[in-house]
Symmetry: none
């Protein structure tokens, strides 16, 4: 079933409002096994007419939001009636519930509101207990030329969401005949680039019948989306995991910080952070997660060398000999944070965010990441992320969180071995 969404609203195109309907409706439709083939946004006023006319020719179902208000640029009702070639008439029941809405709030009904009771002849009124604009459902038989079902829905989420659940979902189920089902699985990876992942698995995935594969890369992570029958998904997932199970941090759409906080809570482990170049971003991402206070106890932003010495006990001679951006300093920062905090695990980063401060040996983008654990020697990795400042910080925080995730996983593994008889 081919579904299109049509959002109206000048504020969405001027950028004064963010359009969240597309995401919300996409998620709701997917729950029903349905997918959106196109989403179109047009300004208030006349533009809806042409866009709707095109949409009903392409789609089986068109979901329109907005333009049902009382003002002169709210013309969705008129456009839909025009496209279907039917008249608008005042609906008795719709007018009565409009009047009741105002009476209940002790407010007079403005004359302009009366047009909100206009309905295309033969269409169905969808009650709106949360606002003045009733929804309208035009069944396919009324759009005879196009044979397309059209829903006119209010724009405000507090009106749209209840109407969706009560009125739209049952009609969509009936329209789709319940015949079409597809499952989806999404896996998220850190520590591997989109192109390397694609290169390794895509040819094999392409050979699995009935499997649709999508990739979506963000800074320092990549999603692989598998859509199809449960069987096709299982085979596809196994192929991806065969190569990248170590890099997969979530199959539930969680962020890396959510995964880290959850794993540390479950393991009963405490975390400390010692940050130079990321300037607090690692701690901030951890504390974005509810319940982070059970995990993170101490964090330091030791931007100045004096701070590294005084707060984390990094020896002056190590700084002098190796420089602040070095393996030795990353190790000393992690150890110092572990000692000062008494946490189970400490992560430290020191690097060159730029744009100043690079050298031939250590260009802008160089970073050393250290991990210290109670009773173990600290480990340090060197990475290179030549990006703008914020991109660099994001990549480094991503690597740091992934190092913590791996350290917690190893910790739990060795505990399991130690516990076994």
């Amino acid at each position: 079933m081919n579904i299109e969404i049509l959002n109206t609203g000048s504020e969405l195109l001027l950028g004064t409002r963010l359009n969240t309907h597309g995401q919300w409706m996409g998620q709701e439709l997917f729950k029903l096994g349905l997918r959106v083939s196109r989403l179109v946004t047009v300004p208030d006023g006349e533009a809806i007419h042409g866009a709707l006319d095109e949409a009903v020719r392409r789609a089986d179902v068109v979901l329109v939001t907005g333009g049902l208000g009382p003002t002169s640029d709210d013309i969705t009702r008129e456009a839909a009636a025009g496209v279907a070639g039917i008249e608008l008439i005042e609906d008795e029941a719709a007018l009565r519930s409009l009047e009741a809405f105002f009476a209940q709030r002790g407010r007079p009904m403005a004359p302009d509101n009366r047009k909100q009771a206009q309905v295309p002849v033969g269409a169905e009124v969808l009650p709106n207990p949360h606002g003045t604009a009733p929804g309208i459902y035009i069944p396919p038989r009324l759009n005879q030329a196009a044979n397309c079902a059209v829903f006119l829905l209010p724009g405000p989420p507090r009106e749209l969401y209840p109407m969706w659940a009560a009125e739209v979902v049952p009609k969509l189920r009936a329209l789709s005949g319940g015949g079409f089902r597809s499952e989806m699985r999404q896996m998220t990876f850190a520590g591997v680039g989109e192109s390397d992942l694609h290169q390794e698995v895509d040819t094999d995935l392409a050979q699995i019948e009935g499997l649709e594969v999508g990739y979506c890369a963000r800074l320092g992570e990549v999603d692989v989306r598998l859509i199809g029958s449960q069987e096709a998904i299982d085979v596809g997932r196994a192929r991806v995991m065969q190569s990248f199970s170590q890099q997969c941090f979530s199959e539930a759409g969680e962020s890396l910080e959510e995964v880290v906080v959850k794993a540390m809570r479950v393991a009963g482990l405490k975390l400390a952070t010692a940050e130079s170049c990321t300037g607090g971003l690692i701690a901030s991402r951890v504390t974005d997660v509810p319940g982070a206070s059970a995990v993170l106890t101490h964090g330091w932003v030791t931007y100045a060398n004096e701070a590294k010495m005084a707060e984390l006990g990094v020896p002056a001679e190590v700084l002098a000999e190796h420089g602040a951006v070095s393996e030795a300093v990353a190790a000393a920062m992690a150890e110092g944070a572990l000692k000062a905090s008494g946490a189970d695990l400490a992560v430290a980063v020191t690097g060159i965010a730029g744009p100043e401060g690079g050298s031939e040996e250590k260009p802008v983008g160089t970073v050393f990441l250290g991990v210290a654990e109670q009773g173990k020697a600290p480990r340090v990795v060197r990475q290179m992320h030549p990006r703008d400042r914020r991109g660099f910080k994001r990549m480094v925080s991503q690597s740091a969180l992934d190092l913590i995730r791996q350290a917690v996983a190893k910790h739990e593994e060795s505990n399991l071995i130690a516990d076994s008889p």
Copy 2:
């Protein structure tokens, strides 16, 4: 000039990602005096072909984002070449910068990436220093049937935004012939809400002939945009400043952290941060600004009470008597940070981010912000930001940065007075 935006990405229609490009591009175009007439979102793959074919027939300019990646469902290049009826060829220079991108990061280039150097014959390559996918500009003369300019732009914001500023804006200016000229001034305010600002000035602004006024609110700040003749803008600006000059932190579109770092650098002042509920976000925002190392020396994330005592010297009895979220603890944290760092100015925050931890006296959203300066008694303000965790952190960091901004301004003012004969 009729402009359409075409966003590709299945994740946008499945609802797994929110499409923020529409809003951002709408705002950016508006700054140029341009408006979007339609925004269309289609899934990855073949759908881009039909949507682009329709768009070039309606519009003078089509801005496409996404689908320039290395994977099999990235076919924006192919679709654009097909619609224009021209061939794709490998561009020497594009291939070389692609190879340089990987070389700089010490990673081998996957063979799949090579297709990212394909360019329609005669089109212009738009360099992408932040990613692998170069942008492409197809001038109207190449789309002969439609006479429409087409821009192919990368999807990730970190790649799109710099390319927009460097490559797209100059071309849009040229295409629009600069004929639409109106001046614009934008002022950004913190510490006053959009509705209060609107309430106070909008009636007066509406009476200024030829002045168009726009408001744009983000978390903890609001823009006022004045568009019109220089004279109308000057009158409008004076009216806004009459009421809100204290709250205006930029007239150049700078972020609050940029303003703070710049002011402290100019004044030669050093900053320390002591964060509980913001978990490092204040320090992270400061260190997003190039040159922050000249300003921020020390930061602490003292999430646990032990950290507040050990790192900042908050007395145990103050914590016991007043609780961690209190005026006394905010003051002690700020003083402790000032003392331990030797900085000129320290800011401290302690509050309840939620969703747990609220009480009747101190509900979720309560925060105390302390500012300490060398030679002065610390000052503390109490605020209330009942929001989700990330929203709360953002609002608190915004208030903290604004307190620093005001403290620096006062410091400079009293210096001027002290210096005067």
